[in-house]
Symmetry: C2
Subunit: 167 residues, 2 copies
């Protein structure tokens, strides 16, 4: 197995499952006559980020993770999505981007240095494997699970099978 196998499929699994969860959430809102903005702006606590921002961060941690590990240009994506459909498009574009990487780009990336921003004023350099295990994955899964938790807390009928993308 290659380092690509340890990276890209993990991101694609959860990005795909989140897209399915967004479909179920949109259907839930229609059925219950809930304005989509209510869910998109819902937080688990006032100083936490709202649902839409959690999804944008999941996309960013996947896309920027792959870019940094492969030494590619790290693109900045404006966070403009205001509907479930726009969030699904953001996820779809992220999936396309993550799929555009070739396995060979990840060869040796586990032991290459990756320098990345932590907070607004600091940088950190880690080996690729440590960047993936210690920063990229925990942040990626954190925001995906918090997004899931926001929906569950608001009564959307999804479960862990939806989170895992198991049909």
């Amino acid at each position: 197995m290659s380092f690509y196998d340890a990276t890209v499929p993990a991101f694609l699994q959860i990005l795909g499952s989140l897209s399915g969860i967004l479909e179920k959430t949109e259907a839930h809102c229609k059925a219950k006559n809930i304005q989509p903005e209510v869910i998109l702006s819902t937080r688990l606590y006032p100083d936490m980020l709202p649902f839409a921002r959690q999804i944008q961060l999941v996309c960013d941690f996947a896309a920027k993770g792959c870019a940094r590990l492969t030494g590619s240009e790290v693109q900045s994506t404006p966070d403009t999505e205001k509907t479930f459909e726009e969030l699904r498009q953001r996820i779809a574009r992220t999936i396309d981007y993550v799929k555009s990487f070739k396995p060979a780009q990840f060869d040796g990336a586990d032991s290459r240095d990756v320098t990345f921003p932590v907070g607004p004023n600091n940088q950190l350099t880690l080996k690729g494997q440590q960047f993936l295990s210690g920063f990229s994955f925990p942040n990626f899964y954190f925001h995906a699970a918090i997004a899931h938790g926001i929906l569950r807390h608001n009564g959307v009928e999804i479960g862990k099978r939806d989170f895992l993308g198991v049909r």
Copy 2:
């Protein structure tokens, strides 16, 4: 980098951070005169699992993940913890167990078959890398993040740095 490097440090990071979060939560309960049982039994939604069970599952996904990947005996741990201190002890025992694995036990584990239960009546066989990326990690991080979300939703003053274990 070895498959051990892709596995054990990731589990240890979050197990360690959760132990720190439990300390902060216990201090919060004391300061606010909150009965620990209230937090330990809190859920984000009535049909979700309570906080204590989320922590037990984080421990199980780490311990059983390492056992299955290395072909070791998969131990079953009774879920008896009723206090923050007992949960911290459960985490400490899990950390000791995960640390007991040797890097060589993971050599080749990424491409070995792992057969594991999914739900009460089914089994699935995947290559070790797919088991880790597609099942073990997403479940492990999911329950850790939901535990974090329960605490944040209840006003415990922790942040993502606590989740990541960054001091």
